[in-house]
Symmetry: C2
Subunit: 183 residues, 2 copies
């Protein structure tokens, strides 16, 4: 039987990310799992308006999206517990910069994207920043024949049961397994 | 060492969904994993402009997002292989309707959202439909104390290595495990 849950986001799991920006010249990071991909070339990050990181994104029109591995789950969670208004998160990680000079990326994260804001969707409680991907960086050891190996990336998945989950195993080929139903 | 991959979306895994709409009065479904959550109350679906499903979304201003379980991976993949222009996908699943009368949801999927388009972001290749969630439906057996149990949902995760992946295990508490670093 179907139960009507009312308005309940249930699009899980999503990858837990650290969104970075430069606030007053200093890297700051927010823990954000409400993210999305758009048209292969852009990403959305849904950021509560209270976040200190938003100040830097608005100021510079740039941000980074960093995918932390399971081994950084404590640091990742910490960034969601403490605001940059009250704590200096700039020294938690080693920052590096790409083509944009104002999107601090996290060296300890195996995957990083530097993004330029191309659109903002304004919700009463959240700024949704849509950023075109300027460049993506990957740890060399997480690449296999040019394809990102997510077994090595070990992303931290978020489900709204307030827990972090691991990634399971691949079990079927996309654009393939459904061919059996074609005739 | 970091390798610059250029513009490469790497925000994976994302949940594979079936996006439904009514085209010429008939349910049609597209397989979409480029999705996102916005402000807890809305979702985005990034849909290539060639999709037949988009016609119905534009016509009615409504769509559904359905989360298929691992057991429906063949049907899910099939919906991404074959266009509703050439094949009738309306009989693949049992459709049901909620408060909106034009957003066909899939009974065989444990989670369903009916959505009303509130915003569209136009990319050259894709329509990004942002839909406010009107209501969410869940199979009773996938609920535990009112919380959605994703072990039972068994979502099909998509990674851009052209494979479907399973969900792993929960391994840490969110808004909690990072407290260790607070002092």
């Amino acid at each position: 039987m179907k139960v009507d849950l009312g308005v309940r986001d249930c699009l899980y799991p999503l990858p837990t990310t650290l969104v970075g920006s430069l606030v007053d010249g200093k890297p700051n990071y927010a823990t954000i799992a409400h993210v999305g991909i758009m048209a292969y070339v852009a990403v959305s990050v849904s950021m509560g308006k209270m976040h200190h990181t938003n100040v830097g994104i608005r100021e510079n029109g740039t941000f980074s999206v960093n995918i932390p591995p399971v081994g950084l789950v404590k640091e990742t969670d910490y960034c969601g517990l403490v605001s940059g208004r009250h704590a200096d998160k700039s020294t938690l990680f080693e920052a590096f910069y790409g083509k944009l000079e104002t999107a601090p990326m996290i060296r300890e994260c195996p995957l990083n994207m530097e993004c330029r804001v191309i659109h903002t969707v304004d919700f009463p409680t959240h700024d949704i920043f849509i950023g075109e991907i300027v460049s993506t960086y990957c740890d060399e050891e997480c690449l296999r024949d040019g394809v990102i190996d997510f077994v090595k990336v070990q992303p931290v998945l978020f489900v709204n049961d307030r827990r972090y989950w691991g990634l399971g195993e691949p079990f079927a080929e996309a654009w393939s397994v459904g061919k059996a139903l074609k005739e």
